[in-house]
Every structure is written in structure tokens, then in C-alpha cells.
């Protein structure tokens, strides 16, 4: 929903206390977000890496611009619609870190490249097929812009990407003769490694990914196509890509907000400590003998990485969350005989997975001064929600 009434209701929250936020609502701790942003910027600077955070997390042009002001070179997105929405919000350097092979969509990509060129910005995209290169070149031929093209290689996730080695050379050979395509390097992201629980497992996965990257880089260099840049990495592993010396750019997104699933990872001491900054504010709407019901179900938070955790503020009871359907959560004491909240009480949840949770909301409410007694400092539109 995106009615004027709804927008006005959110805008009216600014300056009010947390209690004024109607539930269920997506709330970000603005101070924690800023600290997370700063920590990542410092990490990237210290390791002399380009930082291109993934905006599929927040889908917000305002946040993307804040990240770029804090040192990011640009942002990643995953879809053409996300790129369009964030460009419309003033973001000028965008990498679509995914394959697009639909000629209709590629015409939108070309139009966006032209628009960003006119603003002094640039657009990049990933490819993993010769057809993808051809379709992209056909669409770009209608513009006077040049698009950066990264070849995605499969570094262990077994999703998209060409096999490491010679296959990338063939693609580069198809790219370089095209005047509107610029061979920009390799996109090497191992999504599956991000959520491996132990540091040792993540180290092993990225060591293997690095081997695939090195093999491909060497094959390209031998053919005269040394990759200008290797980009990739996520919140679970970015320090490992950084330590490898192969990647020149990192793309983590989730570190900004964090979630219950990342909290289940064994922390790598080589990473900065990121704080949980994304919460669902919910309210107890029904009380039974052995449980209470809150108004946040899986239309308020994504469940692909598990159910939310209850974030008990000081003085609040420890609770467990069970699925109550689309609009309800069932809360029970975390320990037998433990206390339950009362009807009308606020219950804070930590979503299982941040990206698709944000995607369920049109607005994020930013709070300063803590969840208990803070004040709404901003209302942030999720510009690319559903895109």
C-alpha cells in the first residue's frame, strides 16, 4: 500500500516517541546503523578495498547515498527494477550483480545506462552467457552510453556464473569488440558461504573460491585480458576475500542491519563487530492462559532463514516466537513458568533474514535513543520494494 494517507501517517511520526509507532512496523536503530556503516567503511579503507555495499538489503536511495557519502564507491543491486528505483532516488553508480537476458528488460538497462551517463554516473551488469552478451550489446546499441560488464564465475555456490577458467576468456572475447560494452572484470560471489556456521567452514569455502578466482584471473591474463577488477563477497566472509588479495571490491549488504541468521554464525574475530540494527515492533493483541499473540506474522518478516527471535529489552520477559500465520506470532515464556507480556504490550522481534524482511515493508522507521525510550528521527522509504 502506498496511499497518501499511509505516507502522511508515517511522516507524522518524526519527532515522536517510539510508542507512537503503530505495529507491526520495521524499525531501525539509526545509531547502530551509523556505527555499522562506519565500521565497514574503516575496514575497507584499512584494506585498501573498494566498498560497494549491496542495496538489496535496504532498497533505499537515501541509505545508498549515505553509504556513498561514507566512502562507498557505489552500490550493488540484484534486479533492473531495483536499479531503476535507486537511480530515480539519485544514486549514480550502480552494479546489477545478476544476469539479465530478457531483451525488454535489457532495453530498460540501456535506458538506465544512458540516464546515468547523462548525470556523470555509470551502470554495470553481470553476464554469464554469450547470448547474454549479445542481447546486452543489441540493447546498448540504441544508446551512446557504455556499460561496465563483469563476468560472473561460479566460485562454489553452483547457482549462476560460468565455470572458472577458459569459459571466462571466451566471454571476454565476445565483449571487447562491442563499443558500448566495457570489460570491467570478474564478479565472484559465494552466497552459500555466507551462512556457513563455523569460521573454519567459511575459510575453507572462500579458500576454494579464491582458487577458482585465481585460475580464472590467470587464464584471462594469459589471453591478454587481465581483469581490471574482481568484485564479490558478503557479510559472512568479506574479510576472507579481503585477506586473499584477489578481490579489489567487496559487496556486503547485511552488515548494516544484521539478522537472526547472521547472529547464528560463529563470529570471525577478523571482522568488525556489527550490531543488530533492524527490528520489528509488534504488539500483544490477544492473551491466553499459556501464550500471548502478537500482530507480527510472516507478512511482517521473512521466514526463509527461520523465525524471528524475541528481543527482550531490560525488564521485559524472555519469550520464544512460534509461527502464528500471516499476521500473528505466538509468544511463550522462554523458560517454563516464565512471565508473559500483557495485552497491548510492545514486543520487539529480530527478523530471521533482513533482506526479504525489508522487502515486505514500504517504510522503515528510524529511531535514535534506543528502542525503549527513543525518538523517531526519520522515515525511510523502501524505494525498490517489490522491484
Amino acid at each position: 500500500m502506498n496511499t497518501a494517507t499511509e505516507t502522511a501517517r508515517f511522516a507524522g511520526l518524526i519527532g515522536q516517541g517510539v510508542e507512537a509507532i503503530e505495529t507491526p512496523a520495521l524499525v531501525v536503530d539509526a545509531e547502530a546503523v551509523n556505527r555499522n556503516m562506519q565500521r565497514m567503511a574503516e575496514f575497507a579503507e584499512k584494506h585498501r578495498l573498494r566498498l560497494r555495499p549491496h542495496a538489496k538489503l535496504h532498497k533505499s536511495a537515501d541509505i545508498a547515498r549515505l553509504q556513498m557519502q561514507a566512502g562507498a564507491v557505489g552500490i550493488c543491486v540484484q534486479t533492473v527494477g531495483e536499479a531503476e528505483a535507486l537511480a530515480a532516488g539519485g544514486v549514480n553508480d550502480i552494479f546489477i550483480s545478476n544476469e539479465v537476458v530478457c531483451p525488454r528488460k535489457l532495453r530498460r538497462v540501456a535506458g538506465l545506462a544512458q540516464m546515468l551517463k547523462g548525470r556523470g554516473g555509470r551502470l554495470a551488469i553481470a553476464v554469464d552467457s554469450s547470448e547474454g552478451v549479445d542481447y546486452l550489446a543489441q540493447a546498448m546499441a540504441l544508446t551512446s552510453a557504455v556499460i561496465d560488464v563483469f563476468i560472473e564465475i561460479n566460485v562454489g555456490q553452483n547457482r549462476c556464473g560460468v565455470a572458472p577458467g577458459a569459459a571466462a576468456v571466451a566471454l571476454v572475447q565476445r565483449i571487447v569488440p562491442r563499443p558500448t560494452l566495457r570489460y570491467a572484470g570478474l564478479h565472484a560471489y559465494h552466497g552459500g558461504a555466507q551462512h556457513l556456521r563455523s569460521v573454519a567452514e567459511r575459510r575453507a569455502a572462500i579458500a576454494e573460491a579464491a582458487q577458482h578466482v585465481a585460475v580464472t584471473r590467470d587464464a584471462l591474463a594469459e589471453a591478454g585480458f587481465a581483469p581490471p577488477l574482481i568484485t564479490g563477497a558478503g557479510t559472512g566472509t568479506f574479510n576472507l576475500e579481503a585477506a586473499s588479495g584477489l578481490w579489489g571490491e567487496i559487496q556486503p549488504g547485511s552488515f548494516l542491519f544484521m539478522d537472526a541468521d547472521y547472529a547464528r554464525n560463529e563470529r570471525d574475530p577478523a571482522q568488525p563487530a556489527f550490531e543488530q540494527a533492524l527490528f520489528i515492533k509488534s504488539q500483544v493483541i490477544s492473551v491466553a492462559a499459556d501464550h500471548v499473540v502478537c500482530d507480527a506474522g510472516h507478512k511482517s518478516h521473512a521466514v526463509d532463514c527461520g523465525l524471528p527471535l524475541v528481543h527482550a529489552l531490560p525488564g521485559q520477559p524472555d519469550l520464544t516466537y512460534a509461527n502464528g500465520g500471516d499476521e500473528h506470532g505466538i509468544l511463550r515464556p522462554a523458560t517454563p513458568g516464565g512471565a508473559l507480556p500483557a495485552l497491548g504490550d510492545t514486543v520487539w522481534l529480530i527478523p530471521g533474514h533482513c533482506d526479504p524482511t525489508v522487502n515486505l515493508h514500504d517504510m522503515m522507521v528510524a529511531v535514535r535513543g534506543g528502542l525503549a525510550e527513543g525518538t523517531v528521527s526519520a522515515v525511510v522509504r523502501v524505494d525498490a520494494r517489490g522491484a
Copy 2:
């Protein structure tokens, strides 16, 4: 996202072939929807039941009005925001089949009741606590409208609702002195029963629910408060509530679109046969040796009731869908050695769970003439998405 560009892009589809629909997109088979709607209307008429379909399925004012033209007395929604969005779209008879205890939200409820009264419509809401009644009465005191109040009883789901029997009497006694509240009856919905796989399990669950309803009805009648109406039931069980003779109104929603999860239920021959009418159109964007990748991940479809099924049209290979993350699905042959689609091919998916899948999309594309060679007949806005 809800930009003018996006809206224009969807509007431009009308009259075009299915191939013009960019992916991932939510597509409804308009003819199947109409048949499902007709079948349910006939069922309700034959059993002399009021039909109040749950609009949490489609969240669309256009579809709600079509349902009312086909005989529904009104619609159910689950949240205040849904009620507001559908009322804004011209729906005049709405039951919020859920508890609302937040005074701020109850002021919105009161405002909506006033607005609907002005249009000759009416608003109803569920309660399960004395505080809920009091807060509602306080909010309604600011209006000249009357709101219908249904007491929700717990008929076996163990979520919201007062215990069967005397507790409902106490709530009615709190409602009847309030001039702006009208005691309208009982809301008795067993969500957990809808997805029990066997007919026998569903029969047993609704037999137990009916006992709870009967006990409560008798206690109310004895106290002089015989319920004017008992409302409830969903797509999995509505014929059982109908057969009990207790319910006077049924609230099924999902029958209109259906989903992979309902398809896993053993069919009850006492129900009309509903057709699958909701699909995700996706495209193959990457091809590997043993799998292909499509552009529909769990930002395109809800996974709370499992992953989508692949809907192979005649001549298309049988495939299985594995989770590929937020924006990707991994497709493999359903049988070893089976064929895979080619890069750029269309792959149709049946979502695991219809309601929260619709909630991920701003628009539904309605098609006539089948998925293979049909034409876009309408673009339906999901008015209450995210509400």
C-alpha cells in the same frame, strides 16, 4: 515500488500476449478465477450461507467488488490497513476478522466505520478481551457510527479467541450497553484445520470446533444473547462448517487462486473442484551443466508453506524447484536425465502459499486464453499490499 514508470509499464501490457509480461510476475488465470468464484457462490447459495470471502488473499478492491457482484455479502480482512485500502477502493462491507487493541489504530477503525456509514456500508471487527471492547468503545464514542462486534472464540487453533462457553457471555455483557457497538455474533475460525492433509483429520477438527461453537452458542442463548450470526471457515474446511448447521456465514479466501499447499490436501468430494489460478511467470537467466537458474526467488513467492512447484505446460520439461535465494530459483530435471529449459525460456511456478505471495507484489497480471498463448486482459493492483 510504485513509481509512475512502473505503473505505466504494467498498464501497457493490456491486450498484449503473455510473452510481453516481464519476469518475475504474478499472473492470474482470469477465467479460472471466475470459475472458482462462481463455484463458491453456487455452494453458498445452495447451502443458504452468507459468503464473506477473505480478501487477505488478494488484497484487491477490484476483486473484492467482483466477489460482491457475484453474491458475496462483503469481505473479511485481517488488518486495519487492509480495511482502509479496500474501503478506499470502494468496498463498503468489511469485517476485520482479528483483534485490534491499539488505541491509535482503533481511532482509524472508528474513522473507517464513520466513512462506511456515510456510504451506506458497514464495518465489523473481532474482539477477545474486555480491554479490547473498552478501547473500541472509547474510539467509537467519537463517531456517530455503529460497529458490528463479533466475539472470537478459540475453536481449536489456540491462537486468538476466548475459551468456548461462559467467557463469551461476559464479553457480550460488556458490549451490549455500548451504543456504538452492536453485538453481531461469534467469529469461529480454525486456521490450523485448513491444512490438515486428510479429509478425516479435517472432519475431526471441525467436529471439535463445532462442539465449541455449540457450547458457546448455548451459553449465550441461556444468558439471553443468542448469537445473531456465527461466522468463520476457510478453503480447507468450509463445507464442514456448512454441514454443521451452526455457521451462518463462511469466510474462505484461498479457493479463488489456490496454491501448492492446498493442492497437497486430500480433496473433499463435498467441495467444488477449484482450479489453480495463480502463477509466477519466471525466466531462465543462467544455464549450467546440471541445472538452470530462473529469476524467481523468495522475493517473488512466499516460502512459509514450502517451495513453489513447477507448472510445466504441454511440451515443457518437468522440473523441480530448489531455493536459490532471494532472487533465484534452481531448476533441475524432475527425473534423472530429463530435459532442461534453455536460456531465456519461460518457467511457470505455482506458489506454495497464495496469500503472502500476493503480498510480495504490487500488481497481478490477469490473463485470458491460457498461460501458453493467452492475452493480458487486466492489471490488478494489490491495493492492500504490505498493509
